[in-house]
Symmetry: C2
Subunit: 469 residues, 2 copies
């Protein structure tokens, strides 16, 4: 007997993500009869999503109903689950801030990321607080970034059950592909903080697979790191929602940089982890090419990041075209295989006791030793009707804790303290602390320009004291 639930999906205008949720729902028998409320501030995109969702479900004969709203309260009313994938800072704004950084002498980097964090975590907190009064028993599945800061803030400030999700941990599959083993036969664990996770266990058919990584490095590393990856053909099985360029730009799982981190720490950084790891990998495009591969230098350069934003736009256009072509078969266009997203399987586990193990971001409470209980960590969890139960994982090596985890934790705490207090000097300190900053005056100028940017008016007004420095 299936369990009909209501899912409120915030930020549903992202058609690709929304359709992924719909697809997984259609293919999950235990959730038949459920309804999904798509919420976004863009009604046009919502209409596209609803039309696509309804047609897809109809083609499959799935019993689901869909509604759209631009009103958040209507979306979460009576919801059993709220999935929040929205960002109040657009990709264009992120690009604009990176370009502002360039104007102030920084290479295309993260120097202005407090803007992104502050505006999004305030938004997340608004959602969680709204849930406290509208649907206090619902689960919040947080899909939009910054997961680490946002989930920590929401679980500290509200009583809502929050689970943050990310794709990064699938990086272990890319590692498997690189070293030529089938990831279906792999057992793994990669705990840490979101975007900062480390492969503590990596077993292939029950045997330690790290020696295979070492063999790959010894036999193929230098050759691979010397390649222009743009010249490599993309295997057909990897063709998908990203362009081949992007896929290749993102192949940093065994880049020279990732392997350097592995050599420093004895464990591989997984997924989004090697994208940061140390300022020295990121000083300029040539340095990034050295550590992350030619020609793009990884996914965070002035060349590759615009490709990502363009690709998103192309995907939106493709979805709009599908929606406007009533003769197109959506089953043909979208396929009938479950996605790799964890959201619906987790819901199925919680609702129907269809137990599974997932990589989640939840308050620590002892799962990862050395961090306070009220910090959200990324760990494996068993999910069933009892709830989301993090596994007490093997502690990370002290060196990783001291050089990677704790600094990241402190950075998060400073961002949350700034968010709570409106203390402009913390924002200044964060820019000063950014390794690429060369002088006090540079940091002051960067901060003032950042807060004067279009879209940051409220943030600028909020961050007042102390400002007599």
């Amino acid at each position: 007997m299936p369990s009909a639930i209501k899912i409120g999906l915030i930020g549903a205008g992202s058609a690709v993500f929304s359709l992924a949720m719909v697809k997984d729902l259609c293919l999950t028998e235990g959730l038949a009869g459920s309804r999904v409320a798509f919420m976004d501030i863009n009604q046009e995109r919502l209409d596209i999503v609803r039309r696509l969702a309804s047609r897809y479900a109809k083609e499959l004969g799935a019993d689901l109903s869909f509604e759209t709203t631009t009103d958040r309260v209507a979306c979460i009313q009576d919801a059993d689950f709220v999935i929040n994938t929205a960002s109040v800072v657009s990709h264009e704004q992120v690009l604009a801030t990176r370009r502002l950084g360039e104007k102030h002498g920084y290479y295309f980097g993260r120097v202005g990321s407090d803007e992104y964090v502050f505006r999004n975590v305030r938004f997340m907190l608004d959602v969680a607080r709204e849930m406290e009064s509208v649907c206090p028993d619902a689960w919040l599945i947080q899909a939009g970034n910054p997961v680490f800061q946002g989930c920590t803030l929401m679980t500290r400030e509200t009583g809502i059950k929050v689970c943050g999700l990310c794709h990064g941990h699938y990086g272990y599959r890319e590692i498997c592909d690189m070293i030529g083993i089938d990831w279906h036969s792999v057992t793994w664990q990669a705990p840490g903080l979101n975007h900062n996770i480390w492969l503590t266990h990596f077993l292939y058919d029950g045997e330690d697979a790290y020696p295979l990584v070492d063999e790959w490095i010894a036999a193929k590393g230098e050759e691979y790191w010397g390649l222009d990856v743009a010249t490599l053909p993309l295997p057909p099985e990897r063709e998908g929602r990203w362009t081949p360029e992007l896929q290749r730009a993102w192949d940093i799982d065994l880049s020279r940089g990732a392997v350097h981190m592995y050599r420093m720490y004895g464990l591989l950084p997984v997924g989004d982890t090697p994208r940061s790891g140390g300022w020295w990998y990121h000083t300029d495009i040539d340095t990034k090419r050295y550590w992350y591969g030619k020609p793009w230098g990884g996914q965070d350069t002035h060349i590759s990041r615009p490709l990502y934003v363009e690709n998103l736009e192309r995907r939106i256009a493709r979805m709009a075209k599908l929606a406007n072509d009533p003769r197109a078969s959506l089953v043909e266009a979208l396929g009938t295989e479950k996605t790799t997203e964890q959201h619906i399987p987790i819901i199925d586990g919680l609702v129907n006791d269809n137990e599974g193990q997932f990589q989640v971001n939840v308050p620590n409470r002892g799962a990862l030793e050395g961090l306070p209980d009220d910090v959200v960590v990324e760990v494996s969890a068993v999910v069933n009707r009892k709830g989301i139960q993090p596994i007490h994982v093997t502690p990370l090596p002290p060196k990783i804790m001291l050089e990677q985890i704790y600094p990241d934790w402190l950075s998060m705490e400073r961002q949350l303290l700034a968010t709570k207090t409106g203390d402009r000097s913390i924002l200044l300190w964060n820019i000063l602390d950014y390794h690429m900053t060369r002088s006090y005056d540079q940091a002051v100028a960067m901060l003032e320009d950042l807060l004067a940017q279009e879209g940051n008016e409220e943030m600028n007004a909020y961050f007042e004291g102390p400002s007599n420095w």
Copy 2:
């Protein structure tokens, strides 16, 4: 009835420090009959110290006996107290390392300080371990730097009772002098970590004295910060063991930099604290002059630091001259007032229950909230026969914890982890983490040259793995 004890003084070749101890001992009736074992690797200096000590005690009619030894075990045998003021890294070596940094593109700074920390904490640990077998019940008073790292390591690794001491907290008196109040009428508290303490309480005649600081800043700040302090006469009451140049160079208690920190944090940094505080105060000599005053830019510049070393040499020469002049009155030369050192009063408190309050560095155990129990903090303590009892102080503001205390704590933990493991990559990471480092290659070159320096042979051999980065 006085309590005759034995004090072992390691690093006793530092005549000024040793004579200060002797002076305080002579002037402490409750410790009459005690003996002091001066230990150093330099027998010549030891002889000078013993001659001066004996003559001074004789002139005062104090009942004390003195012996010298170059053997550490003989020094601590039967000791009730061991005072360790030695550094195995000479001032000249510290200067050489700073100059090595300059060669690698750093302004005269702390980039190679792991050398100083590693070699000295290993030495301290040797002393503490020796005490465990020779005089396990004795107190160790740690006067040599690095107090924070060394005391934390010793209290973690041995069962010896350790109390670290520093002069920095007396900075509150300089602040009083600057704003024109009598420090004898001041109540204060400045907890934190050694060289990282913050004036949480500052009462003058029972009233908050911070408004007086604010008045000084408003009325006199800009004028003072614009002065060439070399042109200021030194008041006669400040003439002392340092040259007037050094005294002025060290007057940074209400420098523009210290006041900037006060504006950022709402509390004044005390003593050695404003000497660090943020990399941006230290990028070059002009920047340091801006924040710490003209012409020297504080006590850590390529101009003022050599003055300090020269002054030490002059003091040694002066002591040698005194020792070699049997007609000189030592009472006249050294005075008959107790010094401001805390060592002997603390011993008097512990031995004779002559209770007092002191600024000590001891394992936290809840004294300063937010730090683990096994981290040595600098706090006020009541000292009497019961022991050294840290006061549970007011917690520091979250911003100070997140921007000043925790980063310093992590830095200490990394240094101790490096010391424990011999992991060269942690030393590399520390140089990379040093804000002035501009590239990976620069850090590697700096580290290799540092470890190849004369005097670091053992350190170079010790730090082996992992080194395949």
